[in-house]
Amino acid sequence: MTQTHVSTIVNGDAVEFLCETDETLLDVLRDRLTLTGSKEGCGSGDCGACSILLDNRLVCSCLVLGVEAQDREIETIEGMASGDELHPLQRKFIEHAALQCGICTPGFLIAAKALLAQNPDPTETEVRYWLAGNLCRCTGYDKIITAVIDAAAEMRGNV
């Protein structure tokens, strides 16, 4: 079995790894780069727990091959806070109790960040449809939606 060598950028750092050609990027992140913040809820694109940004675009890392990461830029949940300062979305999720068990949280945060990057003032319906690929079984989504809308307001500067 010969593995493939891949160079990429993860959360701003140049990273190299070896992987099997049929290994998913999610497995590479979790098992080879020890970035276990991205979760596997399904492995088939249905739950969004593995959401990451690939070249600034929201994708399911379980539907990307590790070898595809060559020369790309990846952002995972581990790169969301800057130093000891949480991203406003992270803060709002805690404040609004938008997580219960928390397994879905990294995926929601990454997806919500992608939303606010292209739509700083989304309506409730827009938030709900944008996040439809992120499953949460604990919260009923209510507090997640509230947290995203509140974070958006704060980020626009009208608190």
């Binding site: 581990e78 068990c101 439809a132």
Partner: protein, 749 residues
């Protein structure tokens, strides 16, 4: 414990949860997130037959594959040494003579990589003799049905049959004379209902990491609702002393009852023992659906008689629950809870627990109650319509109250059903206008709640902060509630308290986190442990002041002389006493061990508006309100979260979720694409009203809140859809094809 309603300083506020940062930054460690040096990958081979005799298993080719370090089957477990109570668990985690459902584990491997483990599974040769199977509850009850367990002789009927069948048990509850009651009724409605099996649907698949060393000591890391249960069950299944196995509960990505048993844990331990290396097993999503957790599918009949003024004269239910291959259905709880909302003279419920070729049933949030409530509250809604009485008014007329003899026996203590009905009635949702093809439904629901065996320790650190160890995994923010109760009792700041979930070697036994017990029972234990610590703190102050311990009291976080006679000393804060502990007798800690009773029943009333597309049968939920008695909401945000989460799981159950089996007995939808749990765009905001009728069995009045919220939704939604459609629906889920069919079959179309 008094029933006074105390005023609180921090209980009832909404501080940030202590584990929040870990969870929003991705550093929290869940079941699949731990690794160990030299770790192997464990994988399980599962039957693709619904029912088959296993003639033989040839593992030689798999064993010969380079990189494979262990291959195990049922032969690696010593069935003869395992107690009768755990035989079914053993048979479920590793098939013995027969594979009993599609997805049943038959063998397992440990290998150095995923790829090799997968390949090894394909090299295991199982010789099956395929047997006739049955997955439907009514069919399984027929005398002609294939018998799944040769030694299943129905319990609860006299004389007990001598012929094996799939009916494991008949149970009956109630009081009075229902025949007499029906003869007094002005109106009687009787209906037949069906519900499909549903899965808890937690987003985190089961995962564990096991390590058994050559000296026979074992360590296990896993996502579970009860690591002490995991330890005891695993120790017995693999023949190990309890003291030799240490289990640590990881963060848990949802459970809802589904993580109250073991599946992969004993398998990983045995693989590790055989291979002499750590073994990690993580279920795939299709394994989760095929081999873990679902709750029952049901077939139910409910009959209610009422006077013209709405008073119920008799209530009767016959519940048939399909309980999977080992008949573990929660039908008994269904039968007990079915009519618990009502004050009845004549009531009778009969339940049948039935085996089928489906996965072993595991608890799912208020196990057994949502289905029974669905049938009962549907008929109640019809009675109200028939008699022209307002839905909430009819329920208020018949509502159980403090002092009511419940339909399952005990007399109710202080409880809040009436208060939830009143809260619903005055909520503006209840009187808001509806548009065309829209309907409103309401339903009430009940859950028992449990206490159980609990043990906590509360350590006072030298800097005056508090370290609490509990044994109930935190599924939804319970650490925050624990900290709040300790802070309240000690009179210190919330931020000075930290709660951890201790492993099984660090704390005494704790029952699993189920029955909505974490905040109730661990909370109760923490309050008492804090009281224990306070007594010790006072004693230390007394020692410092050289006065009798009885002359010291605790107030606002400080020890003080009880009065002028006791002496004139400046109060000593907790931090001051802690700093001086070394000199006054060493470390200070509070402990409490209890088998907690008095959990306090819980009730909820839900209101829902739904719209039906008459051409396609599509149902949209427009508005949803939950009113529930929490006793005392320790952290209101997380109480609301439980209300909302339960309501939405109920929405899924009511509208789209179902286990679909083919003719071949195989599960056809073992993934989130076709097992359709609600997504964000399906839903409205879920409004909540927290009703607080204190529980006399808890020092702060707390009642469990986790489960009741899933009891009313099925009925409330069915009532709303039936109102919108103009025809009574009697089968779940109300997926578009079923709704469309009901519309077409309705007489006034």
């Amino acid at each position: 414990m008094g029933t006074h309603e105390p005023a609180f300083d921090v209980v009832g506020t909404r501080p940030l949860r202590p584990d929040g940062v870990e969870k929003v930054t991705g550093s929290a460690k869940f079941g699949a997130d731990l690794t160990a040096p030299g770790m192997l990958v464990g994988k399980i081979l599962r039957s693709s037959h619904a029912h088959a005799r296993i003639r033989s298993i040839d593992t030689s080719k798999a064993e010969a594959l380079p990189g494979v370090k262990a291959v195990i089957t049922c032969k690696n477990f010593d069935k003869a040494k395992i107690s009768p109570a755990k035989q079914n668990i053993l048979c479920n985690i590793m098939a013995q003579e027969k594979a009993l459902y599609d997805g049943h584990a038959v063998a397992a491997v440990a290998a150095i990589s995923n790829q090799i483990a997968r390949k090894a599974l394909r090299l295991i040769e199982v010789d099956y003799e395929v047997l006739a199977h049955v997955t439907d509850v009514e069919e399984a009850m027929r005398p002609s049905a294939p018998v799944i367990q040769d030694d299943m002789f129905t319990v609860g009927v006299t004389p007990q049959p001598t012929q094996a069948s799939n009916i494991a048990k008949r149970s009956e509850f109630g009081h009075g004379d229902v025949e007499k009651g029906f003869s007094q009724a002005d109106v009687i409605i009787e209906r037949q209902f069906k519900t499909a099996a549903t899965h808890q649907g937690y987003i985190e698949p089961h995962a564990c990491l096991a390590n058994v060393t050559q000296d026979g000591q074992g360590e296990l890391w896993c996502c579970t609702q009860g690591h002490f249960m995991v330890r005891e069950v695993c120790a017995e299944l693999i023949g190990m002393d309890i003291s030799k196995l240490r289990v640590t509960a990881s963060e848990i990505g949802g459970g809802f009852g589904g993580k109250t048993t073991v599946f992969i844990e004993p398998v990983a331990l045995v693989l590790s023992r055989e291979a002499g290396r750590p073994v990690k097993i993580v279920m795939s999503r299709d394994e989760v659906f095929r081999a873990s957790g679902p709750t029952s599918s049901t077939s139910m009949r409910v009959k209610i008689g009422a006077k013209n003024d709405g008073i119920f004269t008799a209530c009767e239910a016959e519940l048939k629950y399909q309980g999977g291959a080992f008949a573990d259905s929660p039908v008994q709880l269904g039968a007990m809870s079915a009519f618990a909302c009502y004050n009845l003279e004549n009531v009778k419920t009969v339940g049948y627990d039935v085996a089928t070729n489906r996965p072993k049933n595991v608890a799912y949030r208020a196990p057994g109650a949502p289905m029974a409530a669905y049938a009962v509250e549907s008929v109640v809604a019809e009675i109200a319509d028939r008699l022209g009485i307002d839905q909430l008014e009819l329920r208020l007329k018949n509502a159980a109250r403090e002092g009511t003899k419940s339909s399952y026996g005990p007399v109710f203590k202080r409880m809040g059903l009436v208060e939830t009905l009143q809260a619903a009635k005055v909520h503006d949702h209840y009187s808001a206008p509806l548009g065309p093809n829209q309907g409103r439904g309401v339903a009430s629901g009940f859950w028992f709640n449990f206490g159980g065996q609990t043990c906590v320790s509360l350590n006072i650190n030298v800097d005056g902060t508090i370290a609490i160890a509990v044994g109930t995994p935190d599924i939804g923010g319970s650490r925050a509630s624990m900290c709040l109760m300790a802070a309240e009792e000690l009179g210190i700041a919330y931020d000075n308290v930290r709660t951890i979930i201790a492993d099984t070697s660090s704390l005494g036994y704790n029952d699993v986190t189920d029955g909505s017990r974490a905040t109730f029972a661990s909370g109760l234990a923490i309050i008492n442990a804090a009281r224990d610590a306070k007594a010790k703190l006072c004693a230390r102050a007394a020692k410092t002041w050289d006065i009798p311990a009885e002359a010291v009291i605790w107030e606002n976080g400080c020890a003080k002389p009880a009065g002028a006679n006791a002496g004139n000393f400046a109060p000593l804060s907790l931090a001051e006493i802690a700093a001086n502990a070394e000199k006054t007798g060493g470390p200070i800690a509070g402990h409490f061990e209890v088998n907690a009773g008095g959990a306090g029943v819980s009730f909820a009333t839900h209101i829902v508006d739904a719209e039906v597309d008459r051409e396609t049968g599509f149902v949209k939920i427009l508005r949803y309100t939950v009113a529930q008695d929490a006793g005392k909401a320790v952290h209101p945000s997380y109480v609301e979260g439980q209300f909302q989460g339960g309501a939405v799981q109920g929405i899924g159950w009511a509208i789209n979720e179902e286990y679909i089996y083919g003719e071949d007995g195989k599960l056809q939808n073992p993934g989130f694409l076709d097992y359709r749990i609600p997504v964000a765009s399906d839903l409205p905001m879920i409004d909540t009203v927290i009703v607080e009728v204190p529980n006399p069995g808890h020092p702060y009045g707390v009642r469990g809140v986790g489960e009741t919220s899933i009891v009313p939704p099925l009925a409330a939604i069915s009532n709303a859809v039936s109102a919108a459609a103009g025809v009574r629906l009697t089968e779940l889920p109300m997926s578009p094809p079923r709704v469309l069919k009901a519309l077409e079959d309705s007489p006034d179309r």
